[in-house]
Amino acid sequence: DQQVKQNSPSLSVQEGRISILNCDYTNSMFDYFLWYKKYPAEGPTFLISISSIKDKNEDGRFTVFLNKSAKHLSLHIVPSQPGDSAVYFCAASAWSSASKIIFGSGTRLSIRP
């Protein structure tokens, strides 16, 4: 039973354009959401997060949007750069440092020239 779902296993975007990665969750107890980026043979690296009291959080080229009623979040990357090519994991947690973080299955983003 996947509580965090990323339905697109892969996405290809032209350099300079916007990349939009989507994520859905089922557990309404989640109130903290994160995006991680992962390169091969490395551990996941934190990218950006959002708490359930917000609907948008922006950090440079990265923006995360949260739609609580739809239990949906998305990550926007604009403009997309070659170094953005990686696997992106959506994750969710309850608002406690001791809570487990549940990950989606990941979306492989490829930025083409």
Partner: protein, 111 residues
Amino acid sequence: DTAVSQTPKYLVTQMGNDKSIKCEQNLGHDTMYWYKQDSKKFLKIMFSYNNKELIINETVPNRFSPKSPDKAHLNLHINSLELGDSAVYFCASRGSNTEAFFGQGTRLTVV
């Protein structure tokens, strides 16, 4: 200076052996985790420790035994290794209401 470090990075061993993976964090975090990334690339939580105490055990076989000698360390010991244990294992730590920081992973191959 690496925040979360785990050793070894690669581990190849025969079925039936016992092996350990070590993890250390220098972030002063209270919570540490072990995750398993299987062949389908899912990142699944195995254990969570908070201040050296086990708080989450996600129905992992008891051949897997985490040990936390202090807040900065969470080691994973695996007894009687099986082929299905082959995966990449990630250690992570988390502070108060923050994101988790991950180690580089340990690729375990059981032959």
